[in-house]
């Protein structure tokens, strides 16, 4: 260590030089770390291409980062608008409307996109033992979730509509892309899966462009690609269903979808009673389980979307049982009494607010 000692002579200039050296090292360090994110700015990757538009009966918002962000965002918007024209229940020329109009009749030829969506919907219906059922369209119409005027239907009307609720009655033929609704009371409604499914297709589409990261928000169905510019994950909040102005926590998301279903999203009120838009395919009534909201964290949006609806129908206990049999996704369950139950595989991914108490289920 002797060689580190300063000479006793000429002490003052030495100190000054040492200070200069120290400041130089400090500034160099500062410059180095400041340069790392700005290099991406210079590469043109930091400014996103943002598209916001109404489609599929909700608001879409897509933020894309990368060299081909503008072209990718345009292609993403075009794809969503194409899906809207194919799947809208309100457009009588859409594939879904044509299918519903021909219920009880012969098979109908549909586009590849529609065939693939219905195929996915039936797969998820089977996966959830029918808790998610895409054939509840007639019920939704009956309750007025498709029209301006809503009313509480009587029991006879509900029984007639229930006659058409059976996902196993949908016939698909992949040789000629035809679908047949065998019962005349059957009407498809793909609102419980279409946006999640579209999120997956958008992710595939954006992968064809030179995209670094993207935030896809299809009416509250969130899909994230990559991570933020600073390398941290995207922060996706989950709303408190008892007070939608606040959050129960945040999901730290990277290459994943976060999808929430809840009675607070869309509902109707008659005589002071609130009816959610999520239909119970068994009773024909809007769901009245002990769950206020279900948030699914999954790699596939179509699956997450269908599961969020299915678990709302199942209720707390059956949802936990279902997850224990299929623990390949994460779930946050909020009960009507304000309890929050979270699957153990979301520890460290879902971070609750400091004043929120969470009960974890499943083996860690």
């Amino acid at each position: 260590m002797r060689h580190c000692k300063l000479k006793q002579s000429n002490k003052r200039p030495q100190r000054t030089r040492m200070m200069r050296f120290a400041v130089t090292v400090f500034l160099c360090g500062l410059l180095l770390v400041r340069c790392s994110p700005s290099s991406e700015i210079n590469a043109g990757n930091s400014e996103p291409a943002v598209r916001q538009f109404f489609s599929m009966d909700t608001l879409m918002r897509i933020e894309v980062y990368g060299k081909e962000a503008e072209a990718a965002a345009d292609a993403a918007q075009a794809l969503i608008e194409k899906y809207d024209s194919l799947w809208s229940a309100l457009d009588e020329n859409s594939d879904i409307s044509k299918l519903n109009q021909s219920a009880g009749g012969p098979p109908i030829h549909v586009s590849d996109e529609t065939f693939s969506l219905v195929e996915e919907a039936l797969y998820q219906a089977a996966y959830t033992d029918g808790a998610f059922d895409p054939t509840v369209g007639y019920l939704l119409e009956l309750w007025g979730f498709r029209h301006e005027i809503s009313r509480v239907p009587n029991k006879d009307e509900i029984n007639i509509a229930l006659g058409g609720v059976d996902w196993t009655s949908v016939r698909m033929n992949d040789e000629d892309n035809t679908i047949q609704l065998t019962f005349s009371e059957t009407k498809l409604d793909l609102g419980g899966i279409a946006k999640g499914y579209a999120t997956d297709r958008l992710t595939e589409l954006l992968a064809q462009y030179d995209i670094d990261r993207a935030l896809i928000n299809l009416g509250g169905n969130i899909g994230v690609i990559g991570q933020k510019v600073d390398g941290s994950p995207f922060k996706v909040a989950i709303t408190d269903p008892s007070n939608p102005d606040r959050f129960i926590g945040v999901v730290f998301a990277k290459d994943i979808t976060v999808i929430t279903s809840g009675g607070y999203e869309r509902f109707l009120e008659f005589d002071g009673v609130r009816y959610t838009h999520i239909m119970d395919p068994n009773s024909g009534y809007p769901v009245e389980t002990n769950l206020a909201s279900v948030s699914i964290v999954a790699t596939a949006g179509g699956k997450g979307d269908a599961l969020s609806t299915a678990l709302m129908v199942m209720g707390l206990d059956h949802s936990i049982e279902f997850w224990e049999r299929h623990p390949d996704f994460g779930v946050v369950l909020c009960t009507a009494t304000g309890e929050i139950h979270c699957s153990s595989n979301l520890k460290g991914v879902f971070v609750p607010e400091s004043d929120v108490e969470v009960t974890y289920f499943g083996a860690t």
């Binding site: 360090g29 996103p48 943002v50 009966d57 608001l59 969130i222």
Partner: protein, 183 residues
Amino acid sequence: MAQRKVSLFGRFRQFGLRSSANPSNDERLTVLSICISDVVLITILLFVALGIVPVLNRLSAYSQRQTSDAQVVVIVSGEVIFRTPLDPSAGSKEFFVNADGHPMTICVGPEGAYVVSSDCRDQFCVHSRPISIPGQSVVCLPNRMILEIVENTGDGSEEISSAVDESSEIDAVAGRVGGYDAP
């Protein structure tokens, strides 16, 4: 030839003293080496620099948001049909807007912008709380209306703000339509 180890500081010192020293009297080869105290000092300085960066970033993002010339815009069918500056120092003002034949009343005041009345059936927009930060929005799905805070670009146009930046507490909200709504 004899070798002499000199620390980084020593090397600097040597450069500085060369003019006053007599090089011809010192034939030994000087080898630059770094002693432990140098490493410790450099490490400390780098850590301090690293620690300061997020603070600087946050300060810069916060000041950008606070000093930006924010505008309140109402977008219907993709077109901006109403725009007014968001001035927290000004009093509350109510504005009537026609959202494709649907009458709506917007209030812009110190607490932000919000929907006072709407003829939509679900009234979600009316129950939404005021917004004041670029990127926040209130959406009326039945009337296809977006009330949004945007940055004023200075050329008369508006830019839809990104919900994502390094200082964002929240980038998106699952189950909520529209822009993020920071707590």
